[in-house]
Amino acid sequence: MTTTTMTPAAPMAPLPVRKRTRTPGEVTAGMVKMALLVFFAAVILMPVYVLVITSIKSAAEYGAATAWSLPQAPTLAGWAAAWEALAPALLRSVILAVVAAAVSSMLGSMNGFVFAKWKFPGADIIFTMFLFGMFIPYQAVMIPLQALMINMNNTAPFLAGIPTLIIAHTIYGIPICTLIFRNYYATAVPSEILEAARVDGANMWRIYRSIVLPVSAPAFVVTLIWQFTSAWNDFLFALFLTNRNTGPVTYALMELASAQNPDYARTMAGVLIASLPTLVVYIVLGKYFISGLMSGSVK
């Protein structure tokens, strides 16, 4: 710490410090701070403004002159067209994201329990190997994965499209789900309780099911949200493993946006529709969303 001489702490009386009146300097600083915060918030929200106003414009108002203006004759035609174009893919994305999130969370819970509380020899090394799987660029597995999946779809055509994507997202979601559950169990489940159950003769499966699983809800919320969001937002796997008829909503949105003679209202409405589910999750369950984010930092 610094070695500046201690200034005699003026009159000791007015504590707590927080209640004292603020000096003019501090008031100005507070105002500057607030102005900056508002400015940055406006910058961040600017694309949202563009999306919303453009999505309710008619073609006559896309032009350069009125690019940033509010629509004179708002219409929902863009929304209707976007809905029509995206609805089948939206349904596919819902199935994909829900199933992939559920399965990888379940696997993550079982793995996390073992890596935190029921270690086998070499468990830490295996766990680190799992973690690395979180960081790999999927490009590095994509060529053989695509070949493998095409093979699989040839022998089992009913797995083509969304089931294939479910398999991919589930598998590549195992590392992060395992990490989240392991960290959760390491602190939330006291080893003494498990020890006691073991002394009473409960086997591992019983301990997991009756003691660990019932207290796992907080971690499940985190992994479910995280996996739902990543599966929903993914494009790379979708591009390599599906096509325009079987792909999720990101694929369909890309198709919509790359159409010749872009219909801006339809495209921008499509962006809003395709983003709404994850945004709702974020707004309603933001707290858990953030803990998922944090766990990405391994700590």
Partner: protein
Amino acid sequence: MGRVKNWWTGLLMVSPSILLVIVFVYGLIGQNVATSLEAAKTRSGRVLAEGGLANYVELLTWDRYQHALWNLLILTLVFVGGTMFFGLLWALLLEKGVPGEGFFRSVYLFPMAVSFIASGVVWRWLLDPGMGEQAIGLNKLFLMMGMPALQSTWWSSAGKFNMAAMAIPAIWQLAGYVMALFLAGFRGISEDQREAARVDGATEFQLYRHVLFPQLSPIALSALIIVGHMSMKTFDLIYAIAGQNSYVSEVPATLMWVQLFSLNNPVQAAANATILLAVIAVAVVPYLIYTNRTERAGR
């Protein structure tokens, strides 16, 4: 609790996941590396790849690949620098608590919940290169604000640093994430330490410089690794903004797609992906080992 007596039941429980990770992460990586070392010819007999390490020499000396690497370097420097700068700035503005903190936090973080495809569609419009009469997007906004000098061709010029513009939407999307990490870091430092420093006569600047920032360095490292590795993988965003065949905004991840499907050269695409993996591994593996060690020391 550490290791238990009947550890094999734990091993049994994680064995499906271990198998999946070994096959789909490490097995497919191995297969990709094997592909990258193959020899390949076109149907007409032209040699695409000589085989062995010559494939890598070939790729690394290809001017198109070097151009993509340069683009990636610029993108990564601006992307990482920008997210760290704004993330830290926003965390500093918020960390002492301001009115409406929850609102600002949510606004800064919300782009994280949106897919790169969705945001890419909007940013393609915002970063439209049209100027003057043709201007839409940001260029039009600058004109309206009376700052025509700020107009730019953004990413679509052939300039050496055009990829800095591609970093803007990436920063928009992820700066809030870095903010959340730093904010959690600030909140994790006990109020006593600040009080102690103030009592010792430290100025606010000294307090941050000598007391708070040193404790945030593990978080800064995490943020650096996470954003850095995301930048290396950037594909969706460029695909959505620039289209699938844009030379000027090409990075290795998008070039791989071109090699695979336009140039029909999976061998070189595999070599490209392997290098991407190697670059990320060089940064991530030491980081994982380091985190693993500090975690064990903390136990």
